[in-house]
């Protein structure tokens, strides 16, 4: 019988400690529930580690507690459309304008920019290295039928890729060389690296992961490859449950001079170059 008593005792102990953690969270914060701010964000800000720097700084300044959910821009806006997020950090300008136009979001502001690049194996079987036009580079890849790895997840990067294919006049979907992963940027870069294929990536994620990849930057500098990140607050007028004060506070923080300075220097020490460039105050 002793084992029964012991195990019931142990289970009760786990239950008590476990339950305390369900109610207060492991950080044992005494803040009320509305202190939580749900940030739906693109994967690049997360995979590069930028949010690991910005979020604690914001939390310290304001007392809010941020829950960053790293998904593609498309899914981030889908969460916004359900009122499941309070503020979005995304990079898919066309979809963002629609998101604001339909009343789901308010106060869309520029935060930072970098650029997309086409990366591929050093051997470059499609011969695109140094090409000036991203869409004609894609045309060469399609012509050679070399592996191209696509995010295919409605992320900002995927949306950009689709527009570049459209400009090239090729419809790659269904082609045997067109590989669709449905994964975030980091994992997609791994697939491209292992398969010896090409892919479109934001420069920041590529720089952060470069050491583990067998990929080179082959096409860059095309105006079509510009990549701008916006913050959008989810409209409390449409979704009364959102933490609008928290969302607004985080948005104001992102465009504040203090945060912009962190963005300007982020990554220089580790990668030798900045991963993002501050862009607050500029308009489209």
């Amino acid at each position: 019988m002793k084992w029964v008593q012991t195990s019931i005792g142990m289970l009760a102990l786990v239950w008590l400690t476990g339950c305390r953690s369900c109610q207060e969270g492991p950080l044992a914060s005494q803040e009320p529930v509305e202190r939580d701010v749900i940030l739906a964000t693109t994967t690049s800000t997360f995979d590069t580690g930028l949010l690991d720097v910005l979020v604690p700084d914001f939390e310290e300044r304001t007392g809010y507690r941020v829950k960053p959910i790293a998904v593609g821009s498309g899914q981030a806006m889908a969460m916004g459309r359900l009122g499941e997020a309070d503020v979005l950090l995304v990079h898919s300008p066309g979809d963002e304008k629609a998101f604001v136009a339909e009343g789901a979001g308010i106060n869309r502001q520029r935060v930072m920019y970098n650029d997309f690049v086409i990366v591929g194996p050093a051997g470059d079987p499609a011969g695109i290295r140094g090409q000036k036009s991203a869409s004609s580079a894609l045309l060469s890849i399609a012509g050679q039928g070399t592996v191209f790895v696509s995010r295919s997840d409605d992320s900002g990067t995927h949306t950009k890729e689709v527009s570049l294919w459209k400009a090239s006049g090729v419809d790659p979907v269904g082609m045997d060389w067109y590989t669709e992963t449905g994964l975030g940027m980091g994992l997609t870069l791994n697939v491209a690296s292992e398969k010896g294929g090409y892919t479109l990536t934001d420069r920041s994620t590529f720089l952060a992961l470069e050491k583990t990849l067998h990929l080179d930057v082959l096409v860059e500098g095309d105006e079509a490859l510009f990549n701008v990140y916006h913050v959008i607050e989810v409209n409390p007028g449409k979704y009364p449950d959102v933490n609008s004060a928290g969302g607004k506070s985080f948005a104001s923080y992102l465009v504040s001079p203090e945060c912009q300075e962190i963005i300007r220097t982020f990554g220089i020490e580790k990668y030798g170059t900045a991963l993002f460039h501050p862009d607050a105050g500029n308009v489209d």
Partner: protein
């Protein structure tokens, strides 16, 4: 090859050095999966025993359902629990989405059919004659159930191990309802995926080793209890 070696070296330094983040992630994994297993054991042993001892129309179908649910895909559970707990969902007012509580719910839902199914099998493998004998000796129904559960205890411990194993190694549901938030809902499995996507394979390998050791330690502990019990 270098990568694997580097990973193992890194794992060693992180584990031996009791790296704060590794410790926190490990403790949270244990707390969440431990609580979920306990909930699943309380409900699952009850449900399994009840199913084993009662006969009613539709029982076959219910047993089939439990056995099927033993292999519930974690992502489907995650999706279902997330839809329930979202602000717009029926249980949204609880405000527990992206908290450890939500992860306990999801993992308990996963472990519950496993515990129920094994309990059902454990109680049913006791010969019906034994039950009649206990009742004939004047036991009340409650006493009889208690004797049966005691009789099946070795298999019930197996149910606990299987339930815990399912909970602690699961990722899809925990990621969907927890969000892998640093310091709040980041556990071993979700960290491994994140570190892999960030190209930090050495840390991912280290966490993988920790997860393996944790699962093994719990199983060894329960196995020892089980085997000591058998000798008596």
């Amino acid at each position: 090859m270098d990568l694997i070696l580097e990973g193992i070296v890194k794992a060693f330094t992180l584990i031996v050095g009791l790296d704060a983040e590794v410790v926190r992630v490990t403790m949270l994994s244990l707390a969440i999966s431990g609580t979920a297993t306990m909930v699943a054991v309380i409900l699952g042993v009850t449900a399994g025993t009840w199913l084993a001892l009662n006969r009613f129309p539709g029982r076959e179908a219910l047993v089939g359902l439990v056995n099927t649910a033993m292999g519930l895909p974690p992502v489907v559970v995650g999706l279902f629990v997330a839809l329930m707990l979202w602000r717009s969902g029926p249980l949204g007012s609880l405000g527990i989405i992206y908290t450890p509580a939500a992860m306990v719910v999801a993992q308990a839902v996963l472990a519950f059919p496993i515990v129920t199914g094994i309990t059902l099998a454990a109680i049913q493998q006791i010969p019906p004659g034994f039950r009649l004998q206990v009742l004939a000796l004047g036991a009340t129904r409650t006493q009889m159930v208690w004797v049966l559960v005691r009789e099946a205890r070795l298999l019930l411990l197996a149910a606990v191990m299987a339930g815990f194993g399912g909970a602690v190694s699961e990722i899809g549901a925990s990621l969907m309802v927890g969000g892998n938030i640093k310091g709040q809902t980041r556990i071993l499995t979700t960290s491994i995926v994140m570190e892999t996507s960030r190209g930090n394979f050495d840390v991912a390998i280290a966490l993988g080793i920790v997860l393996f050791l944790v699962a093994m330690a719990i199983t060894v502990l329960l196995t020892r209890v089980q085997q000591r019990e058998r000798k008596r």
